[in-house]
Symmetry: C2
Subunit: 309 residues, 2 copies
């Protein structure tokens, strides 16, 4: 699933009516915070189009994941044409990197991607995403962070630990991962900001996979474009860093209840439904439009290998 980029497309479809899109910058010179150097091994990390605040935040998150999980992850086997790709016209660029967990780890895979697209008319879109899935040795939540920026003043943001149990049937799960971790607090801080409003995915299924503490927001700065950088470095950064820290500590770090053999199949079926829906609705429906059939098939194929759908 949450090839976060997949969601980006459905987000995009409802969130950035083309009149509001503006060209925000030509490929900039990347600046790299020192904390993020650990992530620089992957070409994803040198992707040059992201606005600096988004880029610095994503690099910080990737560095935190690398620092903690490096020993549990196998080297990337993603081929060069997926690590970096573009459409034949050169107006869309993308980068996807995936590392699978080692056989002894509870991590299934960590997937990171950045996309840059010139849109029809004046405007461009830049997305950055990080998703990390666990395998069925644990029922602890998956991690999902997506930033979809459609212009200097317009951002859609999704940050969540995706529940893997029916929360009504498992109130102890709700308590362990969402209540005791106080994940609702950064969501509240963000929603109280003046320029922020809720983001509802047009897909009811996507809404259904989110937790009750999910950050799913639109930031629309209008004429106050400078506020965007402040919000991303501030409240957005705090929410994303908290989600990643909780996930690393409580989920990838061996949280969740022991999953007995008979339950694993049901857990895998639930994960599989999410992954399949994303491949069908988002990737297959959108990537060809943006990158052409050949590139899209190459990228989707690589993602399907770890999704196993």
């Amino acid at each position: 699933m949450p090839v976060l980029t997949s969601h980006s497309f459905s987000f995009l479809s409802s969130s950035f009516p083309s009149p509001s899109l503006r060209r925000i910058h030509s490929p900039p010179t990347p600046t790299t915070p020192s904390s993020a150097r650990a992530s620089m091994g992957s070409p994803v990390a040198s992707f040059p189009y992201l606005p600096p605040a988004n880029r610095n935040l994503m690099l910080d998150l990737l560095a935190a994941v690398d620092r903690r999980l490096n020993p549990s992850l196998l080297p990337s086997t993603v081929p060069p044409g997926v690590l970096l790709f573009q459409n034949p016209q050169g107006s869309s660029h993308g980068s996807v990197d995936i590392r699978s967990g080692s056989p002894s780890s509870s991590v299934d895979f960590v997937l990171k991607s950045w996309l840059h697209c010139k849109l029809p008319g004046p405007g461009e879109m830049n997305t950055a995403s990080l998703s990390a899935f666990l395998n069925s040795s644990t029922d602890a939540p998956h991690l999902m962070v997506e930033l979809i920026q459609g212009g200097p003043a317009s951002l859609v943001l999704v940050i969540d630990l995706l529940p893997r149990r029916d929360l009504v049937l498992h109130p102890d799960y709700l308590e362990e991962f969402y209540q005791l971790t106080d994940l609702d607090s950064p969501r509240r801080d963000l929603e109280e900001l003046r320029l922020v409003s809720p983001y509802r995915s047009p897909s009811l299924f996507v809404r259904s996979i989110l937790s009750p503490t999910a950050v799913a927001l639109t930031v629309d700065c209008g004429e106050e474009a400078a506020a965007m950088e402040r919000i991303i470095s501030g409240e957005v950064g705090a929410a994303a860093k908290k989600a990643v820290a909780v996930w690393l500590e409580r989920c990838a770090g061996g949280g969740g209840r022991p999953v007995v053999e008979e339950e694993r199949e049901a857990l895998e079926r639930r994960d599989g439904l999410i992954k399949r829906k994303i491949v069908e609705t988002d990737l297959v429906a959108n990537l060809p439009r943006m990158f052409g059939t050949e590139v899209a098939e190459r990228v989707v194929g690589e993602i399907q290998k770890v999704f196993r759908v």
Copy 2:
């Protein structure tokens, strides 16, 4: 569950800071729309404190339910002291009526309640709620409508068909009851209104029981108090009537997949978790404070009979 009133209390706790509360009216003369006369058999329907727009809307909803379900419902056996009750000081008044489904019906019970409380300091709260639960012969959603008005300019609103399945595991259920019925459309109309903002229950569990098309909103009219009546008669009314109509047509009318014997227990366990949580967290925690121990025990006891928890 959703003794809707139960939710009212948790809603209230976060939604109506006392400074915003104002006395809105002395007990008024009720006006009754002709369509609502069918509901007048129950003392709930003569409850005199609700603002006229809320009262007319609730009476319309009750009339629609009565019209359709009357042959499937047993007569009310609620004792007079629960049909109408008040606290020893006479500052809080309440009315709860319940009709159970007949043995051949898929309806478990229909519960309606109105509450009126003078709050400490200047202000009063008026709530109206309608909930209708199905039994385990079907997995179709339950119905929930709650209006909690804390003053002439301040309303919290919850309208939903509560899913009884894990929607991630059952995308066909999501499609049947939420997608094909276009329940998202009245939610969107409401959320686009200028004076409306999302309502997040302080309870993560309550958020978890809601569907992805749930209307969960705060209407805050500030100085434009006259707008409240217009919104309740307009968009709120449309959303509530649509939810009731869909529920009567597709859920109480025999929707859902056949539930085989082995699945019934799981379905009842899930319903039971919701009901139990409501009795524990909301009713037991709040009713005694508002009505005193004796009255609260009488009312909670009557609700527990149909909740069977």
